[in-house]
């Protein structure tokens, strides 16, 4: 109940603050939604890739995630519904607040199975888009920090905190084509009865986005290491988005190679950009 209250408060804050966000996106970021495929492997979704462009938007995403490890007799599937709002408070500076509204997870091994319904956490983020002209092309880069707000995840007995600092470079090749290159860290701390647990990973990724009229296609890949104290994965991902400022997107990704046990992620999203 407490978690639901916190999420509701976050949603109210979003609704209240959104009209006040009046800043316009950088002119290089006009021309539509070129976001990379929204494929997050981590439970909270904090590791999803972004464009360097900042903008005001409201998004809803439904995510399905599956892990099936036959050798270990392990399998889990989860489905989650995320909501997030972004707004520009200053030129290029974007605040982001999101929450996992509901999360259903089923897990089993060869003999035991259980399921769980939860909500949270709340994710907060801040980023700033800046133009960059060193590449002979129009480009934007953006440092960004996204954090999981502690005590907002009902599914965990431990008190987790995760953060994802990153820098993204978006090259604008033409009105129709952009690439997003991202380097970031994934940091996780949890305080449970046994003290602090920690986990960290570094990731680099590149995505290509191509847009024609109401159709946007993206494809990309991500290398990550450290989360499993090993090489984690090469994540192949792609998405299709249909629509203009308001659109529907379908994204999918699959970790290939490495220690990551997730087999695949599918996300269906609705977004409204300002």
């Amino acid at each position: 109940v407490k978690i639901a209250g916190r999420i509701a408060a976050a949603l109210v804050a979003i609704a209240a603050l959104a009209p006040a966000a009046a800043a316009e996106p950088h002119e290089l970021c006009d021309g539509g939604d070129f976001e990379p495929a929204s494929v997050a492997i981590r439970d909270t979704g904090i590791d999803a890739a972004r464009s360097a462009c900042t903008r005001a938007a409201i998004r809803f995403r439904a995510r399905g995630l599956a892990e099936v490890a036959t050798d270990d007799f392990f399998g889990t599937v989860s489905s989650s519904l995320f909501a997030e709002a972004r707004w520009l408070i200053l030129a290029g500076v974007e605040l982001e607040v999101g929450a996992r509204l509901v999360d259903y997870r089923f897990a089993q091994n060869a003999v035991l199975s259980d399921d769980e319904i939860g909500a949270g956490p709340i994710i907060a983020g801040i980023g700033q888009a800046r133009p960059l002209r060193r590449f002979g092309k129009a480009a934007m880069w953006a440092p960004r920090l996204r954090v999981e707000v502690p005590r907002t995840n009902s599914a965990l007995d431990a008190t987790p905190f995760s953060a994802s600092p990153s820098a993204t470079l978006t090259l604008i090749w033409s009105d129709a084509t952009r690439t997003h290159s991202r380097a970031g860290l994934l940091l996780w701390l949890a305080r449970g009865p046994t003290g602090l647990d920690s986990r960290a990973a570094a990731a680099v990724s590149t995505d290509v986005a191509w847009r024609r009229s109401w159709l946007t296609l993206t494809a990309g890949g991500e290398l990550q290491a450290g989360w499993h104290r090993d090489f984690d994965h090469f994540l192949a991902r792609g998405a299709v988005r249909i629509g203009g400022d308001i659109g529907v997107d379908l994204a999918a990704g699959a970790p290939l190679f490495g220690a990551e046990r997730t087999n695949g992620v599918v996300t269906l999203g609705v977004s409204a950009n300002r």
């Binding site: 259980d114 920090l145 431990a158 701390l189 003290g195 647990d197 046990r261």
Partner: protein, 970 residues
């Protein structure tokens, strides 16, 4: 801008993630000072002289009968209970693990101080997969007396180093149990589906769990590993105890008023937290109180548990009357099962036996309506309900019919002898009236004279010593059959016993010349109380050796070494019975990858002997046998068993799985007897046999194959094609017959048995010579008949079966004589070579006794065969069999081994005979035992239920042309 935001966030995170001291044993607090298990029961128990002691077993000694603790193990005692936790040895050199527990830190002894230790072991687990077992690597003793003493065991899940675990066993003054707290921390990046639970390994024939749930009591649903969660339910408490009076009752209850979730099965109980998703960084904690109390019933155990639960007490009393007069009764004759009458039905809560004045007294948790059943000789004979008033209820007078008193004695040659007397209902009315069980468990018996797994009388069997035996028996008409082995006659007697009657019955048996001079009878596979799945007292176990006329016993307890020396001395049987200490290695932790199998296997059971009892070592010197293949096991044991006379026997090679574990190695690896074994390990199932351990032994390098296991034909039918396949491929192995007896009733000792012809006879018994002769194949086996088979060219130039090839010289004959006591039916004699089976004689070709109670004729068949005609000029092997014709069994799953009989009786063995719709074959079942006493199998199946006469020789390896024996191939 971003810098400020980051600083604010960092402050917020630090404030949220730091702060109070963790309430855990896992956070660097090595003494677990910040946790105290089960604080809810502080002050609940008191006593006159509080005391506490903790230390090494070597210093304190263990005041429990049948305890297993050894120097190095840690002991906790408060004078009320004593507990021993096995030491942890991270080097693995003296691995003190038990069964499913791969290391030390396991509770191996627990009982009321000065009483019995009836515990196999209690360990902790997080699921049922191999990597879900707690593996402790560190053990620490904490002595905070006079407040408490504790042992803290730390480690990880076996195979998941990122999942840390800790268990703290805490003992406080006066408390009749241990406070135990276990913690598990998921340090992996994954969501895990886990429990945290105690696993108590009961072993089917020892302590039985008792669940206070509607319709359960001792009859909890049996464990199904595939559908575990269907039977994984919540419990207010669980009790467990062996069937014998004076045993220890164990109690399990959650602390703080909660419930324990789990499953209770005669094999194991697993009691702990509900199944839950445990995410990365989360911790699961289980606190419980595990009690150990004495007494004749479950009463003291429940009293301790209910005090820990703070339920209050409802006092129950009743008066037993026999023939209208107040009288005490044995637990067999009168045990009260008391429970609550609830909307869903009867909820058993406790059992009660009578005091010396015939009064029942028990205390249960307050309940609105008390219900009760009186069990007498395995049957509920009375029942009722009552409404309590002012915290008590008197159930009034309970009348029972007095049992008859039966005294039996057996003589041979004019002197009393150890023997067994079997009571069988002689009419249908008696059969219907006297069939019973242990509160629905441990199988039915008619009559039920006592728990089948305990001492005599067990089920319907009475063990008699030289002074006879006296038992209580319900009134009825019975046929009593006395037996003392297959080299003596049997004797029967019809008796009518009225309630309260006294009958003295004496039997006289005659010695029969079935076994020629010089042969020694042996049972190479025998269990006793040293095994986790046996509770037969040592004295009864040893008396059964003599009663069934077995001269050499190889004591092969599961993962424990015994020699019965004390019991043999007590009974004065030194000149009649010789015990060779051995071992049945019984791995329980699956690890073996087998082609075609998704789930790892264990390697099944092997016997090894001779071994020395080493009481100062874990498991009395038995090695830790988990996680290694047979070849490595042989290498491990070879320095212990004598190299030239040490024996490794492949036990029940194709037995069914039990508790999800394969019992037979060849079945575990999916060996196909129709397919050649490759010359090296080629990755196939058959190739696994050729895999060698670093020490050089291959998995196929066992010495003996247990062809006959028990008196039935089931294992024989499955093992024959395996043994014959090995012989045909040149893997010359000796076949053996043994009983695998765990009690007086599950399998009859000495059926089957192996006769061995060493140089010295039993009067000058030499265990080395015995083993050498056995390894050489100078042995025959069976469940009654004896086959004398010799090969040679003349009367003075004959030899027995054996691994040494026999070179034909011309005029060679195989002389065969089949002998059997008249009560053992023999109607067929067979000769088997690699080319197939030849019937040498059947029906009227054999001599048959007029009555099974006669003393002759003993020689049923005799023939002489020209060997060159048998082998037709090529090298081959020859085996002789005798007994009843093998009943039909088909190989429906096409793996080369018979698996299914005509179970629906339609005359055809097909898919309609498969009883488990989830399986593709089975079961393979013996024909039912006859109920007409004129049937030739009647007498034998009273002595050995399910028996199907079978005897065999070992193989003669015929070298036809003198150039060395070459395997004929498949």
């Amino acid at each position: 801008m971003l810098g400020k935001a980051s600083a604010i966030l960092l402050l917020a995170v630090v404030s949220l993630l730091t702060g109070c001291t963790p309430n855990t044993c896992l956070a660097g607090d090595t003494a677990c000072n910040n946790v105290g298990a089960c604080r809810s029961i502080n002050g609940t128990f008191s006593c006159d002289a509080p005391q506490l002691a903790a230390g090494d077993v070597a210093e304190l000694g263990i005041d429990l009968a049948d305890a297993e603790g050894v120097p190095g193990d840690l002991l906790l005692t408060n004078g009320v209970i004593t507990a021993v936790i096995a030491t942890v040895d991270p080097t693995g050199e003296t691995n003190s693990g038990r069964g499913l527990a791969p290391g030390g830190g396991v509770l191996i002894d627990l009982g009321p101080s000065g009483g019995d230790d009836d515990l196999n072991y209690i360990t902790q687990l997080a699921g049922v997969l191999p990597e879900d077992t707690f593996r402790y690597t560190d053990l620490r003793l904490v002595d905070r007396s006079p407040d408490f003493v504790a042992v803290i065991a730390r480690g990880q899940l076996d195979g998941r180093d990122e999942v840390e675990v800790v268990t703290r066993y805490e003992l406080r003054p006066c408390e009749p149990g241990l406070r135990i707290r276990s913690e598990l921390h998921n340090g992996t990046a994954d969501v895990l589906t886990l429990i945290v639970a105690d696993l108590a390994h009961w072993g089917k024939r020892d302590a039985l769990p008792f669940a206070a749930r509607i319709g359960e009591g001792f009859e909890s649903p049996e464990l199904d590993l595939v559908d575990l969660q269907d039977v994984y339910v919540s419990h207010d408490y669980v009790l467990a105890r062996p069937t014998n009076p004076g045993a220890t009752t164990y109690g399990f209850v959650a602390c703080g008023g909660g419930q324990l979730s789990g499953v209770n099965d005669p094999e194991i109980s697993a009691l702990g937290t509900p199944v839950e998703l445990v995410r990365s960084g989360e911790t699961v904690v289980l606190e419980r109180f595990v009690s150990a109390t004495g007494g004749e019933d479950l009463g003291a155990g429940l009293a301790a548990i209910n005090r820990a639960r703070e339920t209050g007490e409802l006092a129950i009393t009743a008066q037993l009357r026999v023939d209208g007069e107040p009288a005490a009764a044995s637990f067999r004759a009168a045990t009260l099962l008391i429970g609550a009458s609830e909307a869903g039905g009867f909820r058993p809560l406790v059992t009660a036996t009578t005091a010396d004045d015939g009064r029942f007294a028990a205390a249960i948790e307050p309940t609105e309506v008390v219900a009760w059943e009186l069990w007498s000789f395995g049957r509920p004979v009375a029942g009722g309900s009552a409404t309590p008033s002012a915290g008590a209820v008197d159930l009034g007078d309970i009348d029972i019919e007095p049992p008859a008193q039966l005294t039996v004695a057996v003589h041979a040659g004019g002197t009393p002898i150890p023997a067994e007397v079997i009571a069988t209902p002689a009419d249908q009315a008696t059969a219907a009236a006297v069939r019973g069980s242990w509160f629905g468990r441990l199988g039915d018996c008619a009559p039920w004279l006592g728990p089948p797994v305990g001492g005599s009388p067990a089920c319907n069997r009475i063990l008699t010593g030289e002074s006879g035996a006296a038992v209580e028996i319900p009134a009825g008409r019975y046929r009593l059959i006395a037996t003392a082995g297959p080299s003596r006659t049997v004797s029967d007697r019809l008796i009518d016993l009225a309630p309260g009657a006294q009958a003295d019955v004496s039997f006289t048996l005659l010695d029969l010349d079935v076994v020629p001079d010089g042969w020694i009878s042996s049972d190479l596979h025998v269990h006793g109380k040293g095994s986790f799945d046996s509770s037969i007292p040592d004295l009864d176990r040893v008396l059964s050796f003599a009663a069934h006329d077995v001269q050499v016993i190889v004591a092969t307890d599961h993962d424990y070494i015994v020699n019965y020396a004390s019991a043999i001395e007590t009974l004065g049987l030194e000149d009649r019975v010789a015990v060779i200490p051995g071992l049945e290695t019984t791995p329980l932790i699956p690890f073996l990858d087998v082609p075609g199998e998704d789930i790892p296997q264990v390697i099944g059971h092997f016997n090894h002997w001779p071994l020395a009892v080493r009481p100062e070592l874990p498991r009395a010197g038995a090695p830790f046998d988990e996680l290694i293949e047979p070849g490595a096991l042989f290498d491990l044991l070879d320095p212990t068993v004598s190299l030239d006379a040490g024996i490794h026997m492949l036990n029940h090679p194709w037995d069914e799985t039990q508790f999800g574990r394969d019992l037979g190695y060849l079945r575990a690896i999916n060996f196909d007897p129709r397919v050649p074994i490759p010359a090296f390990d080629d990755g196939s199932s058959n190739g696994m046999l050729m895999r060698a351990a670093p020490g050089g032994k291959r998995n196929v390098d066992f010495d003996l194959v247990e062809l006959q296991n028990g008196g039935t034909l089931i294992q024989v039918l499955k093992t024959r094609p395996l043994w014959f396949s090995l012989l045909s491929q040149g893997f010359a192995r000796v076949a053996a017959a043994s009983s695998d007896s765990h009690s007086l009733s599950d399998a009859q000792l000495g059926y089957g048995r192996t006769h061995v012809k060493p140089v010295r006879d039993f009067s000058r018994f030499d265990p080395i010579g015995f083993n050498v002769a056995l390894k050489a194949g100078h042995a025959v086996g069976g469940n009654g008949p004896f086959i004398v088979a010799e090969i040679g060219t003349g009367a003075g130039n004959r030899r027995l079966s054996g691994l040494e090839p026999y070179v034909l010289v011309g005029g060679d004959t195989l002389e065969i004589e089949v002998r059997a006591a008249p009560w053992i039916p023999v109607t067929e004699v067979r000769l088997i070579t690699s080319r197939g089976v030849q019937i040498l004689g059947s029906g009227d070709d054999l001599t048959h006794p007029a009555s099974p109670l006669d003393s002759g004729p003993l020689v049923r068949f005799r023939t002489s065969l020209a060997v060159d005609q048998i082998v037709a000029g090529r090298d081959d092997w020859i085996v002789i069999e005798a007994g009843l014709p093998l009943f039909d069994a088909a190989d429906l799953d096409d793996d080369g081994v018979p698996d299914t009989t005509d179970n629906n009786g339609d005359g055809v063995i097909d898919a309609a005979d498969i009883e488990d719709p989830d399986d593709d074959s089975g079961p393979l079942r013996s024909p039912p035992d006859p109920i007409d006493f004129r049937d030739p199998r009647y007498t034998m199946t009273r002595v050995v239920p399910g028996a199907w006469t079978y005897a065999f020789t070992n193989a003669f390896f015929i070298d036809a042309d003198g150039d060395g024996w070459e395997a004929p191939g498949l």
